[in-house]
């Protein structure tokens, strides 16, 4: 079982390395001379040559890739093309706002998703199950930015219940301004969570141990919440891991629509202003975060399985 952990870890590292190579090649493919972009159109040839030498741009592709990796390992993601600040600092400074947003979205997805999943498994084929299944499919298919704009239109512009712009100051204000963006990102995942939970509960309900529990007269509530859910939540954790990564990257829509700071807004502004180091840096940090969250979810699922725990403690 330690082998599983090792393999899973190794795969994650390999994936990150591949992504880094892809990102490097992409930066390399970006049209326009990075020196000119950085120094502006009026830079003289000496300055450009000096810049190229300093950035290692005059070296071979392989050397540049090597340098890229070395500086990454040192936590150096390059410098902001406009402000000159280290990219990592800029990205990390914007990260907390996006994390709050993702946290809010996870709550929006998890609470109704779990309730719907349990109810529709429990009353399978009934009215709740049918409504929940149509609802799940519907919220899953409509893109987050459309939901974001309609939420903005109805609840901010028309009803005026929520402020339209900014992340706010102070706990309650921030929370208040978090509601709509969280809904925009989280709604879709209600569907994914409800579906996977319903399916795994129904699967587990067919297992022999549930029959045994029933044969001892344990109540249906006890069987559901103590015996079945304990196992049925595991696939949901995996899905939630994927969800967190996707929410983090879809955050750009919620942040643009609701005028919130965050890494989505950061990367969006960077693309508009052709600030490539910021784009690369943000994509890299987000991807690593995504890989780590998925890894964490997989390891958590494995850890929650007593058989795995047992094998590991040997």
């Amino acid at each position: 079982m330690a082998l599983y952990f090792l393999k899973r870890l190794l795969l994650s590292v390999l994936v990150v390395i591949l992504v880094v190579i892809a990102l490097f090649l992409l930066t390399y493919a970006i049209p326009g001379d990075p020196a000119r972009v950085a120094l502006g159109p009026r830079a003289n040839p000496e300055l450009i040559a000096e810049f190229r030498a300093r950035m290692g741009l005059d070296q071979s592709l392989a050397t540049q890739l090597y340098n890229f990796f070395v500086s990454l390992l040192q936590g150096d993601l390059g410098r902001d093309a406009i402000s000159g600040e280290p990219v990592l600092n800029t990205v990390l400074s914007q990260f907390p706002d996006t994390l709050y947003l993702v946290l809010g979205s996870v709550l929006v997805a998890l609470v109704p998703g779990v309730i719907l999943g349990i109810l529709s498994a429990r009353y399978r084929g009934g009215i709740i199950d049918r409504i929940s299944s149509v609802l799940s499919v519907s919220v899953m298919s409509v893109p987050a930015f459309v939901i974001a704009i309609y939420l903005l239109l109805v609840f901010s512009i028309q009803l005026g219940w929520f402020p339209a712009i900014g992340a706010g100051t102070g706990f309650w204000d921030r929370l208040h301004r978090l509601v709509l963006p969280s809904l925009a990102l989280g709604l879709a995942w209600i569907g994914y969570i409800a579906r996977i939970l319903r399916a795994s509960i129904l699967e587990e309900m067919n297992e022999g141990h549930v029959r045994t529990a029933r044969a001892f007269g344990l109540s249906e509530n006890r069987i559901m919440y103590d015996y079945v859910l304990r196992i049925a939540v595991l696939p949901m954790i995996t899905v939630l891991g994927i969800g967190i990564g996707q929410m983090l990257s879809s955050a750009v829509f919620a942040e643009v629509v609701f005028g919130r700071p965050g890494i989505g807004k950061l990367v969006y502004d960077a693309i508009i202003s052709r600030n490539y180091p910021i784009v690369t840096g943000t994509v890299l940090v987000t991807t690593i975060f995504f890989v780590v969250v998925n890894l964490g979810a997989d390891l958590l699922v494995a850890w929650l399985n007593p058989k795995v725990r047992h094998d590991l403690s040997r």
Binding site: E207, G208, H209, R211, T212, A213, R214, A215, F216, G217, L218, S219, R222, D226, Y227, R230, I231, L304, N305, P306, K307, H310
Partner: protein, 327 residues
Amino acid sequence: MSEKNALEVRDLNVSYKVPGGKLRALRQIDLIVPRGEIVGLVGESGCGKTTLMQTILGLQSSAAVIESGQIMLGDTDLLTLGPKQMRGVLGDRMSAVFQDPMKSLNPVLTIGRQMTDIQFRSKASQREKRARAVEMLEKVRIPDPESRLDRYPFEFSGGMRQRVAIAMALMAEPDVLVADEPTTALDATLELTTIDLLRELQKEIGCAIIFITHHLGVVAELCQSVNIMYAGEMVESGPTRAVFDAPQHPYTELLFACDPAQIAERTRHLPTIGGELPSLINLPPGCVFEGRCPKAFAPCADIHPRIVTSGGSDMVRCHLRDPEVTK
């Protein structure tokens, strides 16, 4: 009569809703389980013994329709009980051991947790419940039971798990234990020790056991009486000795004949008899065994045989044994 019998099934009819209509899985089933006795229930796959077991335990599938009949546990007809009252019976007056010991325990809860959970009726403290669990594990000869309580099912072998399941089932000292092929998944030596254990505990607790199996050898060794099912009907019942010595129904006869070693040697598989089971959706008008019966004669194809007493058997459903027909 309820004083003598722990459980009595009377004229039970169960069918399943299927796309083609109604699958009549159990028809006119009678089963008597005297107090403190082990009763064998034998039949090949598809004969309805699993449906019967599920119906007795109230765990039948949602597609099952109980058309008529009674299942008397002492003075209560289980079929009149609601789900809540049925839960009150299960794990108290009646409990069960199932076939697959690999799947019948919850994989993510410790044995101890599961054994204390099922004592939810008891007012005893958690510690007392644990002590009770240890005591039961000792009885089924699980070595070092104290520390085993904190282990998970996967840390036990198949035979051990089945003994844990037996310990759980007998913990409440039920009146009736339904054992659904509890030894089928075990290898021959384990089967033997498990059966010995079951018999020993049964004597100690004094409960009745419905032992569902298709091993004739096990029946001969363990059961005082035997019931033989075929295609949803009870075809023969009687004291084990009598039925084994002189089977009255041609199906019973074939069952034994196909098993040359008979009692002396256990078979892993049911002896095969030529022909196919009749359709349970469109039942034949006559005897269900007519198509495969070597002794079938004039009335068998058209008239459904009635129940008669014959030889040493308490009941046989065959025209051959019916004096009215053979006369």
